[in-house]
Subunit: 121 residues, 2 copies
Amino acid sequence: MRQESKIIDTCPIQGVIDIISKKWAILIVAVLGNRSAMRYNDILNELKGISPKTLADTLKQLHGSGIISRQSFNEIPPRVEYSLTRDGEKLRDAIIPVVNWAVDRSSHKDCIILQSVLRGR
Amino acid sequence: MRQESKIIDTCPIQGVIDIISKKWAILIVAVLGNRSAMRYNDILNELKGISPKTLADTLKQLHGSGIISRQSFNEIPPRVEYSLTRDGEKLRDAIIPVVNWAVDRSSHKDCIILQSVLRGR
DNA sequence: CGGCATCCGAGAAGATACTG
DNA sequence: CAGTATCTTCTCGGATGCCG
């Protein structure tokens, strides 16, 4: 954020906004929250529509924010697994009310991602 | 969204993301949730750093999404009051866990907006 | 396989000035 | 007072291609 603003810059909520306002971040947290670990291409396939770059960018940012952890194995072929950190799991729990709110407003209640998130409860 | 994607387009969560991913939307919901009604310049002053255009745009979008209501009075000087709809209040309640999560992660827990939101509980 | 580098376009956000 | 109008800047997300 370029702009200086007391109320914003000093506000913890800004950090969250920077995270969840990324288009795919919530979805990634959602799908990751479902399994103990997922590989790059697993996520790529699950989130049909996301580009590799955007996924990589978002994963990097989430990792930097401590939401997800990244473990790479020195294997051939290479393997990298992503999973939620404890903090990430808390985030996933925290967004559930928002997801529920979204479901109530929506006409079509069927959604793979959504079911995934809610199943976690 | 330009991109076609089964999993996303048919997912109710996408609507939420479109709303809360706007940088200022959550903040506006937060500050509005605090008072019964607020005028344009009240919000503008409270959210130091937002430009009139951005505020107008965001208010318009939130209004279109049914999150906030807009009531204008035929007076001189003109008066327009914004407030949360019932749905908006639900959204505000729903984001509280996320806000709390943000507070736990943050080092500086003091935040006007934040206190505002949490006070509503 | 799991990415990173590069380039590009669209839209969000900002600054400033102006109006009904 | 409550916005518009305009112009600019910036970031995001997508496409493609290369590499260890």
